[in-house]
């Protein structure tokens, strides 16, 4: 069905169409989308900048940044995000590599396992985990446990981007080439495979960062004071600093996604594997 010539053909066909003007409905729907995306952001921004009846300024941002609880919770979430990325990569990179190299018949199983976190909503996962923690209460004594749980939340994205990254390179040939010059397995992985899937690893990391920095369900129900929990607490007490926090949070997500986007562009025609992780 899908011939090799398809992309070139598509391009050739599209070219003359560029000259026609976009239709009314095209413009209409794009404007509707822009309005829907931007109005809440604009409202939040205006709300966060209002310092009086008709005066605007960065007062609420200043107050937020000066709050020691902001710093503590933000750094806590950031640390969790970094830990989640590291645990996730240490766990997943060798696994995905091994599956590609030796156990391709296991790919369907990996696909299913990696989609499971979508089947179990975070709030249901907490229910199940509390059942486990009732038996092993010491696990809850350290906040590190959150990072281990977040690895599961990020698993679909980490797996998809690593899988796509390994599919794009020829894992078998690279490994055989490395072995033919006498490299042991771990050296092959570290110095041959890793540099080649750097982009996939980074895009998985950016998505994980975005997820962890905003995660509320699990941390609040397990009683840890992450950034999102702090945000909710502020929202309950003061509205305008809360709006400032929402803007800060949005900027953060935006930064992570821009990183992802730039990565996918640098890679050429590769569509960013992470953003569309759900669709594939």
């Amino acid at each position: 069905m899908a011939s090799v010539a398809a992309p070139a053909e598509k391009k050739a066909r599209r070219a003359p169409r560029e000259h026609r003007r976009p239709s009314f409905w095209t413009i209409f729907w794009l404007i509707m989308a822009a309005l829907y995306f931007l109005i809440p952001l604009y409202s939040t921004l205006q709300f966060s900048l209002e310092t009086g009846q008709h005066s605007y300024g960065f007062k609420w941002y200043g107050q937020t940044f000066a709050d020691p609880m902001f710093r503590t919770s933000f750094l806590f979430s950031l640390r969790l995000a970094v830990e989640t990325v590291i645990i996730g990569l240490v766990l997943m990179v060798p696994t995905v590599y091994w599956v590609h190299l030796r156990l391709p018949q296991l790919r369907p199983l990996m696909d299913v396992v990696s989609i499971l976190p979508f089947v179990v909503p975070p709030v249901a996962l907490v229910v199940g985990l509390s059942g486990v923690f009732n038996v092993l209460p010491w696990m809850l004594s350290n906040s590190q446990i959150l990072a281990f749980i977040y690895v599961i939340l990020a698993l679909p994205f980490t797996y998809r981007s690593l899988d796509a990254g390994m599919r794009a390179i020829n894992v078998k040939t690279l490994t055989e080439a490395a072995q033919s010059v006498g490299a042991p397995g771990w050296k092959t992985l570290l110095f041959v495979i890793l540099p080649n899937i750097r982009t996939a690893m980074l895009s998985g990391a950016f998505l994980t960062l975005a997820i962890v920095m905003g995660e509320y369900t699990i941390s609040s129900l397990l009683l840890f004071n992450t950034f999102a929990v702090y945000m909710y607490y502020i929202g309950n007490t003061e509205a305008q600093p809360a709006a400032a926090l929402a803007i800060i949070s949005f900027t953060l997500t935006w930064g992570a996604m821009m990183g992802l986007f730039l990565l996918s562009r640098r890679r050429g025609r590769g569509s960013s594997p992470g953003v569309t992780a759900v669709s594939r």
Binding site: L30, S43, T95, R102, V278
Partner: protein, 321 residues
């Protein structure tokens, strides 16, 4: 069986001289009878490579689910019971499932149709070239911009003192005196669409790109009108991906916890909120296993949607590469 004999004999051969048997195995293909057990030993090693991952997933994902399913169907004494599941069908729990399904359906269809039109406009709309990458990036941001900050953004927009609420009041439309609140079904759906719409665009855009220009031209050459083309060709080809995408949106909305919680301060009756209240001990309940059965009900519904999505995607792949 010959296979068994082969194994047995070669095993005995190995036990006689293990070193000899092992020595030539490393570099190249082992030959002859000793091949089978060595392969299987290497096979065991090969499979061992995925054990850490599977163990991790089992501990943090599978065992918790098994535990909660087990607790759903047993009493505190360990006997089998259906009481916990039956409790879901009555009173506030039944109401929470109905409300959750309602808001999920509305936001899935609303966000789905909106997303379809926007994606089509971006993919096939002959707009400027920068539209598509811009939209993709923005969708990535917006679909991840959920939870607490999203709730704040919508409170700032459509809350009682929200910017849009005040703006509408200035032109004479007082939405709050017409029964609108940000945590009503309408307000909730409107907020959910903020993460539903971008997800829809990301999911459906590849399918729209798969609609071949040739099909449309062929239809036009045969004298088909615009609506005939859509009714007979476009829609049937798109239908599985469209349905699949909306099913995915349904599950996405159904799982949401942080957004409705922050919008209403936990005062809205949805399944995730109910679970949260059981977990945090906010409500006095007679049956502590209700949290497990609520979570079980949730997993069942979301599981069915993910399965339906996977099947529909496979069906869609028939026409769209």
């Amino acid at each position: 069986m010959p296979e068994d004999r082969d194994t047995v004999s070669s095993v005995s051969l190995e036990t006689v001289s293990p070193l000899e048997a092992r020595a030539p195995a490393l570099p190249d293909e082992p030959s002859g009878r000793s091949r089978r057990p060595r392969m299987s030993r290497r096979g065991v090693l090969t499979w061992a490579g995925v054990v850490p991952f599977l163990a991790y997933a089992a501990f943090f994902l599978l065992i918790p689910v098994v535990v909660l399913v087990f607790k759903t169907f047993t009493t505190a004494n360990g006997g089998f019971t259906l009481e916990n599941v039956r409790a879901l069908a009555s009173g506030q729990y039944r109401a929470s499932f109905i409300a959750s399904i309602q808001v999920s359906i509305i936001s899935a269809i609303g966000g789905g149709l909106f997303g379809l039109f926007v994606a089509y406009a971006a993919v096939r709309g002959r707009g400027p070239r920068f539209i598509q990458p811009l939209l993709t990036t923005f969708c990535g941001v917006a679909s991840n911009f959920a939870g607490i900050p999203l709730a704040f953004a919508f409170i700032a927009t459509l809350g009682a003192n929200g910017v849009v609420t005040v703006l509408l009041a200035d032109v004479g439309l007082h939405i709050y005196s017409h029964g609108f609140t940000i945590f009503s079904l309408a307000g909730l759906s409107l907020t959910y669409i903020y993460f539903q719409l971008p997800l829809m665009i990301l999911v459906i855009a590849p399918s729209l790109e798969g609609l071949r220009v040739e099909w449309r031209e062929a239809a036009e050459n045969l004298g088909a009108t615009q609506s005939q083309y859509w009714w007979r060709i476009g829609l049937p080809v798109l239908l599985p991906s469209l349905a699949g995408a909306m099913v995915l949106l349904f599950g996405n909305a159904f799982s949401a916890y942080a957004t409705p919680y922050a919008l209403s301060g936990g005062g809205i009756n949805l399944v995730p909120i109910q679970i949260g209240q059981v977990l945090s001990g906010d409500v006095v309940i007679t049956n502590p296993r209700l949290g497990d059965s609520l979570a079980f009900g949730m997993i069942c519904i979301v599981g069915v949607t993910v399965l339906a999505y996977a099947l529909l995607q496979r069906r869609a792949a028939r026409w769209l590469r």
